[in-house]
């Protein structure tokens, strides 16, 4: 096996994991060079969290192998634990304790001396803009502050490899941008980062390489630019209130588009990749739809989402297999609603 100090920071080969009938991972391969950021993109239930849990020694794989910083996650779990930091989907902090107490307890559990624990906690509180709130119970923290504190906690032991499982899910847009800045600054310090996300724009902003996971398999890998080129650049989207005219609208729009339009019969939403032609495509679309006499709502151009990547790669929309009660399409729905409200 590779020596410490050479080779990738994370290496995953044919990793499998099932929970009874559910095949969470069906043989994935990953390789993350030191000091780079891998974005693992996929909908809920795709297997992202399972992969992170195996890589952070919380779960044993059924098959395949995973190596972090040269250490096998199964056979050298304690060595792996010494080189990693984990920030999961829910903020793993003790609500009753202050921000500082939370970090100091983690520091003591990393066997730092009392003095260096104190220094490290103060340092991290400052870095994460929590100095003012440091001595208040975390209970009163905002969602963004919780996440920042949780991220700070994952860095107490100065990990070489950091795992962030959906670090911005549930945050408001502003906190999300703040989180991105923080993550960028961490990476600038040379930390290897594996980040899971449901948002293409997040992976786009933060990751050097992106892998797309669907139903336990890697269905695409490459840079953000690679993926976007497969989607076909910007996406034109609109709603046809009269469902009987959907086919006419699709036919009209296909003349100005780069690819086959995707028609959602249920919601009456038509989306289509228009490549880099942007506003030119928008104007042509308006003309074509007008000529066809189809009434539309919320016609707009937007950047590709995870859904578009999924449509392009698999022909089906991103499905959330494990949380049927939740919003099925995440951000895309929000964008739709906003578009309709303003039109």
């Amino acid at each position: 096996m590779s020596q410490i100090g050479s080779g990738p920071a994370i290496l995953v080969e044919d990793l499998t994991k099932s929970f009874g009938e559910v095949h969470a991972l069906r043989g994935i391969d990953l390789s993350v060079p030191r000091g780079t950021v891998l974005g693992v993109l996929g909908p809920n239930g795709a297997g992202k969290t399972t992969a992170v849990r195996i890589l952070t020694t919380l779960l044993l794989p059924d098959g395949g192998r995973a190596v972090v910083e040269g250490h096998d996650v199964v056979h050298e779990a304690s060595a792996v634990r010494r080189s990693i930091g984990l920030s999961g989907q829910s903020a793993a902090i003790q609500e009753e304790l202050t921000g500082r107490e939370n970090l100091e307890i983690i520091g003591r559990l990393y066997h730092l001396s009392r003095a260096s624990t104190r220094v490290r906690a103060t340092e991290l509180l400052k870095q994460f803009d929590l100095t003012e709130a440091a001595d208040r119970p975390a209970k009163g923290f905002s969602g963004g502050m919780h996440r920042r504190l949780d991220l700070a906690a994952s860095l107490v032991g100065r990990p070489k490899v950091l795992f962030l499982d959906e670090p911005t899910t549930g945050l408001d847009p502003r906190s999300r941008l703040g989180m991105w800045d923080i993550i960028r600054s961490l990476v600038a310090g040379g930390t290897t980062l594996l980040l899971t996300t449901q948002y293409l724009d997040e992976a786009d902003e933060l990751a050097d390489e992106i892998v797309v996971i669907d139903r336990g398999l890697v269905i695409a890998a490459g840079t953000s630019a690679d993926l976007k080129s497969r989607v076909g650049g910007d996406v034109l989207e609109f709603t046809v209130p009269d469902r009987s005219r959907l086919a006419d609208a699709a036919a009209a729009i296909s003349k100005v588009a780069d690819s086959e339009p995707h028609v959602d019969e249920e919601t009456g939403v038509i989306s289509v990749g228009v490549g880099g032609s942007g506003s030119e495509a928008l104007i042509q679309a308006v003309r074509a739809l007008d000529a066809a006499g189809v009434e539309t709502r919320g016609l707009a151009l937007r950047r590709p989402s995870l859904d578009d990547v999924f449509l392009a790669l698999t022909g089906h929309a991103a499905e959330e297999e494990d949380q049927p009660g939740k919003r099925r399409r995440g951000r895309r729905r929000d964008a739709d609603t906003a578009g309709r409200a303003s039109s």
Binding site: M1, Q3, I4, R53, T56, T57, L58, L59, G70, H71, D72, H75, E76, S78, A79, R81, R82, I84, L86, G88, Q89, S90, A91, A92, I93, Q94, E96, L97, E101, I105, I106, R108, L109, Y110, H111, P137, A153, S154, G157
Partner: protein, 269 residues
């Protein structure tokens, strides 16, 4: 693959043992800190047994005929103390279920700390909490007329046995909390069996007043052995036979539930 070079900085056994102790102390300290930060926890733990003391002393007590020196309140207190120790473990189960759900346990398990510390630290802190609760309830008992009849050492032994008993239930509670992993479920039914098992014992009434079929159960279950031993220690009377039965039962609980709790912690998903 797992070569020697892989673990150059692996700590030696002695260091590991030292860390296990220091990690346990850190977790204990954390748990006690949480506990002191939210005084409501103490109030809730104490308020139920105090209400029971007052209710049984003044409401039901008059109707329950017992033949012990000092009357019903002396009969009652060892039973209440045993129940207090058992009920204090609700906190253990709920706290672990919460930590599991919130990802605190995930974080701790992904760190290079001693794996045993989360459980041992929890048990040590909760034993401390249980002890404080027991002493408060004893104080209330004293205020309403309870008196130890058998000297200081047996009185201390009674409290120690109550703690040993509570700690054994604590292991069951830890397992339950980790296995169920959901705060509300744990609260609703995880430890609900503690009610019948403490009431269908010699804790509150003489077993001879129960119907025959119930006596068969009540006479042969561990809470009765523990309470009878505690009562003999507090008020005088033969201790040995019930003490042995209690210790065998408690040992049995530890032997079964410590490994189960450890396994539930390791596998917590």
């Amino acid at each position: 693959m797992t070569t020697v070079a892989a673990e150059p900085d692996a700590p030696g056994l002695l260091t590991q043992a030292r860390w296990a102790v220091s990690d346990t102390l850190t977790i204990t300290k954390r748990n006690l800190l949480v506990w002191m930060r939210v005084p409501a926890y103490i109030v809730f733990t104490v308020i139920q047994p105090v209400i029971f003391v007052l209710m049984f002393r003044y409401v039901f007590g008059g109707a329950i005929l017992v033949h012990v020196r000092g009357g019903y309140v002396n009969f009652l207190m060892p039973g209440i103390i045993a129940q207090t120790a058992a009920f204090a473990t609700f906190g253990t189960a709920i706290a672990l279920a919460q930590e599991l759900k919130k990802g605190v346990i995930d974080r701790l398990r992904s760190m290079p700390m001693a794996r045993s510390a989360v459980l041992t630290g929890r048990l040590v802190a909760d034993t401390g909490r249980m002890t404080v609760t027991i002493l408060i309830v004893l104080g209330v008992g004293y205020a309403v007329g309870f008196r130890f009849q058998n000297g200081v050492l047996p009185a201390i032994a009674m409290v120690l046995l109550a703690i040993l008993f509570g700690l054994s239930i604590c292991c069951i509670a830890a397992f339950t909390g980790l296995a169920i992993g959901d705060e509300e479920s744990v609260q609703a039914f995880g430890l609900i069996w503690l009610f019948p098992i403490t009431f269908l014992s010699s804790a509150f009434v003489p077993i001879a007043t129960m119907p025959g079929w119930l006596q068969a159960f009540a006479n042969n279950q561990p809470v009765t052995y523990v309470v009878d031993t505690m009562r003999a220690l507090a008020l005088g009377g033969p201790v040995e036979a019930n003490l042995w039965k209690s210790l065998v039962w408690l040992a049995g609980i530890y032997v079964v539930f410590v490994p189960l709790a450890v396994r539930a912690y390791k596998r917590a998903a």
